[in-house]
């Protein structure tokens, strides 16, 4: 069964069950996203994908709003554009988005003022370095939950990550804030793969950013017992 709706004045026939985001794709309209990822269940958290629907009091998150027969949808109205721009400005005020090129691009596209909220309290927790493979640098975390979802029922079914705290203090963590090696984590890194801001980043990558060369990176945190490998020279 197909639905007929209008997106930015264009009539679209979308399969029943489509989200507004999928319907917009049929109209060749790209929706900007932050929390949405193709591999995780959409949950409408970030609200960057909002669109305006005629007759609706509030803006609708396109990733989780089902398309309906006869809907009149506007994806680039002044109200939509202002909402998206403001959201970017607020995120940028409290979170380090320096390693989120897609969000940086959106800030350019929406002409966001990167200094609009200079007094905002920045999220600045210490970098968590507790395993050989990746670090958790949560001053870059914008709480999209993709990592939690990837670790749970969307990709890995391992359930090592969860959310903790409330409101502004809500954050991604582990059960009892345990270090990763003490959790059910199997270091698949599927969480790292879906992180949009490099809050989760492989150690190799972060050491390269810090200017270490590959040789030093390889020696970093190597097991002392194996400092000399009899079969291949120094580790």
């Amino acid at each position: 069964m197909t639905l007929t709706l209008t997106i930015d004045g264009r009539e679209i026939h979308a399969p029943a069950g489509s989200s507004l985001m999928q319907a917009a794709q049929l109209a060749d309209v790209d929706t900007p996203v932050i929390c949405y990822h193709e591999a995780t269940t959409p949950n409408g958290l970030c609200r960057q994908c909002v669109v305006e629907v005629d007759g609706w009091r509030v803006l609708a998150p396109a990733c989780v709003t089902p398309a309906a027969e006869g809907m009149e949808v506007h994806t680039a109205s002044e109200r939509v554009t202002r909402a998206r721009r403001t959201l970017l400005e607020m995120l940028n005020a409290s979170i380090d988005l320096s390693q989120a090129p897609e969000i940086q691009q959106q800030m350019d596209d929406y002409q966001a003022d990167r200094e609009r909220f200079p007094g905002a309290e920045r999220r600045a927790p210490a970098m968590l370095d507790d395993n050989p493979f990746y670090v958790r640098d949560y001053d870059k975390c914008l709480m999209c939950w993709r990592c939690v979802q990837a670790c749970a029922d969307d990709l890995q079914f391992t359930y090592a990550l969860s959310t903790g705290g409330r409101g502004y203090n809500s954050h991604v963590t582990t059960f009892f804030d345990a270090p990763m090696p003490e959790t059910t984590c199997v270091f698949c890194g599927n969480c790292v793969a879906v992180c949009p801001t490099n809050a989760l980043i492989s150690k190799t990558e972060i050491y390269l950013q810090q200017g270490l060369d590959y040789d030093s990176i390889r020696r970093e945190k190597r097991n002392q017992r194996r400092a000399q490998d009899k079969k291949g020279g120094a580790q």
Binding site: P132, F133, C188, N190, V192, A193, T204, E205, G232, Q235
Partner: protein, 699 residues
Amino acid sequence: MIQAESIVRSTCPYCGVGCQVNLHIKDEHIYKVDAPFQVAPNYGRLCAKGRFGVDFVHHPGRLTMPLIRKDFGVTPRQPVGLEGFREATWEEALELAARRITEIHQQHGPAAFGTFASAKVTNEDNYVFQKFVRGVLGSNNVDHCARLCHAASVTALTIAIGSSAMSNSIAEMKDLDVFIVTGSNTTETHPVISTFLREAVVNNQAKLIVVDPRQIEMTEFAEVWLRQQPGTDVAIFQAMAQVIVAEELFNQEFIDARTEGFKDYAAAIMDCTPEWAAEISGVPAEDIRTAARLFANARTGAIYWGMGISQSVHGVENALSLANLALLCGHIGKPGTGLNPLRGQNNVQGCSDSGGLPHVFTAYQPVADDAIRAKFEQDWGTTLNPEPGLTVMEMVDAAASKIIRAYLIMGENPLMSEPDLRHSRHVMEQMEFVLVQDIFLNETSEYADILFPATSFAEKGGTFTNTDRRVQLIRPAVPAPGQAREDWAILCDLAKRVEILLGRPASIGFDYAHPSDIWQEMARLTPAFQGIDHARIQREDGVHWPCPTPDHPGSPYLFEDTFPSGRGVFTALDVRPGAELPDPEYPFILSTGRVLYHWHGGTMTRRSKLDDIYPDPTVEVHPLDADALGLADGQWALVRSRRGQIKVKTIVTERSPQGVVFIPFHFAEAAANELTLDARDPKAKIPDYKMCAVALEPV
């Protein structure tokens, strides 16, 4: 932010899942690995090894120059480190190798060669390897580590249905209805497959039956967990079959149309009741009934298994008992069903498919078949040996009795993977000539006379075939270290030199410009591959063989209409004891296997960041046993068997049952195979790595 200079699509070099990876390259190094979310078989998912463990590629221990042993010609040979070798030019090393091979061939004939193809290198490398061994040396003594892993599964499936690979694909897993996982610690050995199996349970309400002595993670997702005593698998599955027959839960239509021998089989197993099996296995009879009903009443039922089934002195019977269940219920030949041995190595399926076995050419075409042999003889322009060759452990026997005098080994580490290592080392010491090509000096290449430096997966092109028969590409991503060369290129140079020294009038063809040329030749000789070439894989990311024509879509699942052998065959089975049972002197059963963070003999993962998270050899001991032995968690223990002893760190856990200890086999400093027993399944010749008797004490 770090910007990649290039991103190269490849196939993960670790397990048989065959995950597609993107290698991110900067300054000729792989600094990051991720996976495309739209592409089978892994759809973006990876495990620790694939995502964080390919740093071995850049380890300074990589072999960069051809090496010749300084005491070349001295027997018995001793293992030596790099200091025991001298660097040589390719010209010198190849010429010396060709001369030694020729001398041994002239003195002792083709039977003097034992050769090891490799489940780690490409199909193309393996094809050239067996072409050299069969076509130039005239020997069929070519085998590889598949013999040590799924030989029993292959033998059993050949008996039951005439096939030898996973019948169904990974893509079907998330839509399963009921499935059995047995003898497979899937979360650690096939981590990405385990995510799809868990997805079936968690998101799609599939029912999982786990049959395993160890409390593996998959048990947390199971509807029923049958915790049998090690080595009693046949009793469990035959009792499930008995329930299905007695309660008439079988699929009469399927049995009539597709199988033979049902009546005799049904009569033969009537006394194999769940109570009978409970006595043998320690599993409550009612649990066996529940599992049997669940499986038989399923819309679709699939069976997945690993080494726990095959690595046994009755491995063939274990796997046959699973085939019986699938045939009884008609759970084969449809999506979401099937008999699915999970293959271990990245290209163990492909090495077997490419002719790396003693009795068959490519895609299981028998060397003893005159018409098949004539086809290869005509294409290659030579005469070929009709006698099937020796299997891995038979080659060790033949070497011990001086029939085999030279080993040619490509990318395998038999001195970690064979059982009873002390015996294997002794045999190796006596060899007249040992030629190895590999990427590192390891426990086997320490015995080499000549050691050729080979390229890793990241430095060459070609194809790997994963566990669900999907042929996928690897692509060169970084330059080869030093003078390392592709295995196929080394073999071609060597083969041409041996042909000349042997005075052959014409070469059988070792002039390939690219791995795709090798694939073309292989496909020409192999009906099941004829629809596949590198260009098509490039377009489609991967193709499941059999694929006979370019317009054939490939075969994600098999046996829809018929079995290769015609009708499926039921086999009534006797329950036989293990080869070595515990006694007062050696009171524990030892089972060996793998852990998530390491890979087989450890040649790669012990040279990776992965070693940081799992640095020490371990033994799992039940708390009651640990108390009785005075062993604490984290304490070092000496484990002894009648063959040898090793020192390992104790993990006190209820994961292994009382009376059973588990030791992973990745650690050269405490190789589990010092302890294991060379007792083999009589049909498949696979050694039993899952059951021997040991004693433990604190140190």
